[in-house]
């Protein structure tokens, strides 16, 4: 998958734990781990905007395209 999820980088920058993000965004820990570990096949705009709002960042800060 050429899309890399930099969620852990953003979490570190904001000094926020995964559990705190779960509570703020309102999605389950298992779904957030799927996203964090790069196993996710798709992400809903609603989830993305909730994460961006909580972490005060842009979608590009979380998602990155890398050539295979």
């Amino acid at each position: 998958m050429p899309i890399i999820v930099n969620l852990d980088v953003m979490l570190a920058k904001r000094k926020m734990s995964l559990t705190e993000l779960c509570e703020e965004v309102g999605i389950t820990m298992s779904n957030l781990s799927i996203l964090k570990t790069g196993k996710a096949k798709a992400i809903r705009f609603s989830t993305l905007s909730a994460i961006c709002k909580t972490l005060n960042c842009q979608p590009g800060d979380i998602l990155e395209f890398v050539e295979d």
Binding site: I27, N31, L32, I34, L35, K39, A40, K41, A42, I43, R44, T47
Partner: protein, 241 residues
Amino acid sequence: MEAQNNFTARNMRIFSRVLGIPAFIVLIWAIFVNLNEFNSVLDTSIQPDAGIIIDYEIGHLKLNKIKASTDTEEAYVYVTYKGISYLAPQENQTEELSANFGFTKMTGLESYPSFLVIEKHKAFWKSQFYLEILFRYAGFAVVFLTMLVFGELNFKQNNKLFTKEVKWGLGGFMFVIYGAYFGGYFLYGRMILFLNKEFYLGESIVGGGSQELLFMGTILLFLFIVFERAIPIQQEQDLTV
């Protein structure tokens, strides 16, 4: 919610085990009873009263024992196969129908072939009946076991329907059904081959397969294909956050 799911799954497992173990005992008991009943009809040393027919029937096969009169010491055993029937020729049918008007003897318009069991054929008939009994009851056991496993798997999948385990459960069930279909062909072919050789019956050895089983197998094959297609879609859904 999780606790409720676990409770339901545990209850289902307990229920299926409580139901499954006695069902297996009943099936083994049924095989034993059937074998005993069959052997008592086949054994000519146990004789019925004159004119009384003792019979044992499984599927299309029927074993009969009769003592024609009190004068004779011998009881005759014969096998009737109900899977093949013959119609009387048109002229005989008309004759028999008109004879029936006069309350004379009615021999029947449709008949099933019967074969006298002689000493040298006993081994064959014994094996044929044993295979039929085993085929039926072992078939029930396998179908029951497959459904039990299927039930257990289904409740272990966090309420997801399209899983690999359920797909292989369906595949296993389909395999059993097709196995039964071809098993029926084998048993029929084996018997007709023997009858053609010993009694010059002249019947085709193919045609013993059950259409219901074929239909059921096809439905299961269709479901298997649906699962094959649906699992990747569900997995993708599961990995959408």
